[in-house]
Symmetry: C2
Subunit: 331 residues, 2 copies
């Protein structure tokens, strides 16, 4: 059945049934009234700050070939959660505005909504409100809010701080390359890369642990690529960066097998699509504390914060190689 046959009211009823906004703090949840109504003190525990972010996924610019409808829904939530993670905050709830072409199958919309609910509930959050419109292309705008006592800003990196990143990078861009160029890679790499592309994992717990450690001086997510993210951090913190390219964590190192014809670090820097966290750590960190973060959070030290006038560069032996500031941009 097409959604135009179902009608707007039928569609809204069908969708809202799939969302389980059952927290005690949600006085009025999705689809019930003009607004969602949230008991602030029950929702926030004792946190001081509300954090809010909004992010859009849309057919013509964001969705890679082969992504499933439930992965589309998952991704629409995950990209917002990644921004919450980048503040070191706890996500609480979402609104989701969906623009859907009239000829879309109901089953396709069902699967999107199931993906949304799956991702939201995986991170203990709930969809509390939404909107549905008829649009020319599929477009999903999520707005997420959460709570924290100590938001980790982009401004805060100081000269001498260590530059770090969570997880491994370049995976999403590798996934895209595998699909677009029919690249053959080991099975495990194929799986990891495609998962990074189709169903990104927001680093919520990592963000919270890093913020709670009290060691992190600045943080952001690297969805537009490491180069642009370093440039953003440099601008906000008024610093430069020295980066050790061979320390940048990539999958091919992990599996100890180079990938023919692919430079994963190049993909990580200039193509983006990864939802890892880039952050700086106070220079006075103890080696034991750093080791704990390596083990518990999974971080790699990839460089050092330099004075602003030094710019952003790769240190290779005695040489400095300027990092070109390019990555994914909409316009």
């Amino acid at each position: 059945m097409k959604i135009e046959q179902l009608g707007e009211i039928g569609l809204i009823e069908r969708i809202t049934k799939k969302y389980k906004a059952d927290a005690e703090s949600i006085a009025v949840g999705v689809g019930k009234d003009d607004c969602a109504v949230i008991d602030i003190d029950k929702a926030r525990s004792s946190y001081k700050y509300l954090v809010v972010t909004t992010d859009t996924l849309q057919e013509s610019t964001h969705l890679p070939e082969g992504i499933s409808p439930s992965q589309i829904g998952w991704s629409a939530i995950a990209v917002n959660l990644s921004d919450i993670a980048a503040m070191g905050a706890r996500p609480y709830a979402f609104t989701i505005a969906m623009g859907i072409p009239a000829h879309t199958d109901t089953a396709f919309v069902d699967a999107i909504v199931e993906g949304i609910e799956e991702c939201a509930s995986s991170y203990n959050t709930a969809v509390v409100g939404g909107d549905i419109t008829r649009s020319k292309e599929l477009i999903l705008t999520g707005t997420c809010f959460g709570f924290t006592d100590k938001p980790v800003m982009r401004a805060g990196a100081k000269v001498g701080d260590l530059v770090c990143v969570t997880g491994s990078v370049g995976n999403a861009a590798l996934g895209l390359k595998i699909i677009k160029e029919g690249l053959t890679v080991p099975k495990k790499v194929d799986k990891t890369a495609k998962r990074a592309l189709f169903q990104p994992v927001p680093r919520i717990q990592e963000g919270i642990s890093l913020a709670d450690s009290g060691l992190v001086t600045s943080m952001l997510d690297i969805s537009d690529g490491l180069a642009l993210s370093l440039a953003e951090l440099a601008k906000s913190s008024k610093v430069g960066f020295e980066i050790y390219e061979d320390k940048v964590p990539v999958l091919s190192d992990e599996i100890k097998t180079p990938l023919r014809g692919v430079n994963l670090r190049n993909l990580a820097f200039f193509y983006g699509g990864d939802y890892e966290l880039l952050f700086t750590v106070d220079a006075n960190v103890l080696e034991s504390e750093l080791e704990r973060l390596r083990k518990e959070v999974g971080i790699s030290v990839i460089g050092k914060v330099m004075p602003s006038e030094e710019g952003i560069y790769f240190k290779k032996g005695d040489k400095k190689e300027r990092i070109k500031i390019k990555g994914y941009q909409h316009f």
Copy 2:
């Protein structure tokens, strides 16, 4: 200049400069970090509930011919404020996600953003976050949050309560008719109707006054038309409605001039586009209290709440005429 020449970073800088999020409670405003950061206690004063709503405006389905870019921006904010008004809440802040075709003129985007800021600041709210993507058609998704102690729900109308509406209705649909059919109407009517269509006024102060009066038992806005709104209210409150058609406030009564070839009440019931509030008032209201609401808020009593099994109907003398439940729907 086209926005694709300006580039994404240039565009974001240009836009965020136009937003004045300067409240003391906003620790991090628009364009500064991964999330906006809001000091909850400074923001909410002592209100118990956070209310949240999201609403999308989009070129192919929502924008009437002749609307200016600043009116598009204004409207994207106003439709969300109307949902906040319908809870009787105070709006606090917005996020705005904009999908913009790449060939759009920078001046056009500037004017949209100016309209957004104009409407937001008119109601003491601020844009604290946003997103910009390249899309096939212009699409704006606003998410608004606000605060209240006593949200007025859709559920709550009791048999015997009075049915009321703010302002006058049918104006936006009349505006559309004037433009589409080249209808000639008195100058004042033309102006009012086009303003209702192009630059709707959200009933924020009215919603707050009604909620504060303690007399209102249920409320919603009537953007999809009076008929669908009555049906929504009936469903949420499990009641029926008796409506006196000639009591429904329309512009032609106000100016004491009938409009040839136009049935404003018919437009109000079945075409929508008005951002007035539909609400019910406790049957035990004193006439003096009602008179105060008439004067101070500008309300009209248009009917009575009936038992659910009576359905929704016009009372015309001794006759009952079933109200057909139709109005604007996306699918």
